[in-house]
Symmetry: C2
Subunit: 377 residues, 2 copies
């Protein structure tokens, strides 16, 4: 299945990093790639034109949110998610699993599925693998995900083992429920921070067979060492001829690390959420734009960045907008942060093409250390 859509174009000789190409119904994606998160059928504070301008290739949208509001049946009736939000590029939808499990006390899990209360109006719902697939088929994304249970970093061994076996059964049910043509279905590997359980989940999920494989259950409160440990343990076991997606990560350094191990796809709210909080990513490290030191700073946000915001506005103006609570602050900050993430991926793809990704990674960490020292860290 997967081999028809995904092609490894170039394998970096010095590490696991690989350059790939993934065909979808709405276009071809170059990997490794970062997917901006568009929870409510909009990447917060970005227009579709903005997304094209920063070379976003694919975006992610959330099944849980769209199921509750405006409802998948409505989106389907209006022509599907692409038409609804005016985004003609590829879309991936998650399965709702992560959001539902984030509800904590508001949900109850059984073999059949998850009963939960809406965070919007408290209404009761019952999400199953079959319903999750039906919702995702109605939304019409190019890539959809199996319904899974996402266990927290603190979950004990026996809980995680029982959970991943259920996730495997749910993956089977997801695959059986999936009918829509031209829509790829990815499996999700769980297993928490336990490497043997990750191996077990990986084997089970891969034996079912999907168009791509994702690591779930990361960015759920674990340490960097735990996160990187799972990446390292799973990478050699993942199928080489299918896209490898790590869900919900990450910080720029996490993306560098993951690409080095040979992962291809990523999503995270960090660039967009941080932007709205005035936390901006630059080649000189992260900065908080509301800081007093930027009050009279006429320079660009990031002197090494060639995005529209950095070519146009001063730090002083961005600080003023943020302090004044202006909507334009969210627009401009989000634009820059997403550009930063997508440009980082572009630079990583270039390094892989040149088989110099290990050098790229070393330089990246050295620069990061320098930035921290420069800041007195």
């Amino acid at each position: 299945m997967a081999d028809s859509n995904f092609t490894v174009i170039h394998q970096d000789a010095s590490c696991g990093a690989r350059l790939g190409s993934l065909k979808t119904t709405h276009g071809v994606i170059e990997t490794p790639i970062f997917m901006p998160v568009g929870t409510n059928a909009t990447v917060k504070a970005m227009t579709p034109e903005n997304l094209l301008a920063i070379n976003a290739q694919i975006i992610l949208s959330n099944t849980y949110h769209l199921y509750l509001r405006p409802g998948h049946a409505l989106v389907e009736k209006l022509g599907g998610l692409h038409k609804f939000m005016n985004w003609q590029g590829p879309i991936l939808t998650d399965s709702g699993g992560f959001q539902v499990f984030s509800l904590g006390e508001l949900r109850k899990i059984s073999e059949e599925g998850v009963r939960f209360q809406s965070h919007i109006d408290g209404s009761y719902h019952f999400l199953t693998p079959e319903l999750s697939i039906r919702i995702q088929e109605a939304l019409g994304a190019d890539i959809i995900m199996c319904f899974d249970e996402c266990t927290p970093a603190t979950a004990d061994y026996n809980y995680v083992r029982r959970s991943l076996d259920m996730t495997t059964r749910w993956a089977l049910r997801s695959k059986e429920a999936h009918r829509r043509e031209g829509q790829q279905l990815f499996g999700i590997i769980q297993g928490g921070m336990h490497h043997d359980l990750r191996a077990r989940s990986l084997e089970d999920i891969c034996s079912i067979g999907f168009d791509g494989y994702a690591l779930g259950g990361l960015s759920v409160g674990e340490t960097k060492e735990q996160m990187y440990g799972v990446m390292e343990c799973c990478a050699p076991m993942m199928p080489k001829d299918a896209p490898r997606y790590i869900m919900g990560i990450g910080a720029p350094e996490d993306l560098v690390e993951a690409v080095w191990h040979g992962y291809d796809m990523f999503d995270c709210v960090m660039p967009t959420r941080n932007a709205r909080n005035g936390m901006l990513f630059t080649s000189q490290g992260r900065i908080n734009i509301k800081a007093k030191i930027y009050e009279e700073d006429q320079g660009p946000l990031d002197p090494e960045c060639s995005c529209h915001v950095c070519r146009t506005y001063s730090r002083a103006y961005l600080r003023h907008l943020y302090r004044s609570g202006e909507i334009l602050a969210s627009n401009l900050n989000t634009y820059h942060n997403l550009y930063y993430f997508l440009d980082l991926m572009r630079r990583m793809r270039k390094a892989i093409q040149e088989s110099s990704f290990s050098d790229f990674r070393r330089c990246y960490y050295e620069k990061q250390d320098t930035n921290q020292i420069a800041k007195g860290g």
Copy 2:
């Protein structure tokens, strides 16, 4: 002074409406014109590129707000307001008078000026005609306003009379304080709802001599009849060879009425503020986009509008964004509402050019009545 910058290109034979051209340091403005309000050095939820795309010719910014944050000295140091906010077209700044008087209990007026407390941090400030001019010179707008006292619609006759005489003395002081070349200074006519006091203020202000003349003290709680009465009473007395500006209005029908009387320039927060509250202007009347009737509405916001939002998105999607509290709702709604106002002005200029403005006005009111009847109003 005024005649060198302002030219009446065509006088409609059927009414007071006139087509004009106003030269400023940052470009020529066609009148009659509506100025989007950019209080904090940004038109809320609009980028400068958006403003250009909807053919905004001139924007207004607020002296009071920029004086308090980020401070006029900083804006001057950073190269002036145009550079600071990346808007290379004409800018008009108000004098701060209206905002200061809106503070109510937080301000105290004397002949010298107004002592007030900041709405941001409660700090004390003393704004005088001289300081207002100095702030506006530092910001560097193309057109600046005299410092005035804006009296409420309910102010009694004797208060308004004493106040307008002080406004005249402040206008003299404003003119004497003004030094910056290439910056036009407009006088402000007060007088509340009392026609004889309006006449008195108008004569006094015009005898001082300014580059343009504004009616202040409208849109301060009066009825439509009172507002239109002041427009009608002042129009024949206003100099013909200078731009005539009504501050702070208005609703679309107010703009039609004012243009009919021969006024040239307008500003109001209505299109931008209403947009953020989901209240949108269309050729079929005002609509509240959160209404249930738009839930499955695949049609454009306004079928007669050719703006990017109407050409691209459905009412159902705009409703979804608004209900989800998405920033993009403010972006798209503001874009449309401002387009609607600017396009209305464009259509009015075209009607004047064709000497058919009285017909335009009659059709406008007939359509408005039809819309109200269609809505069961």
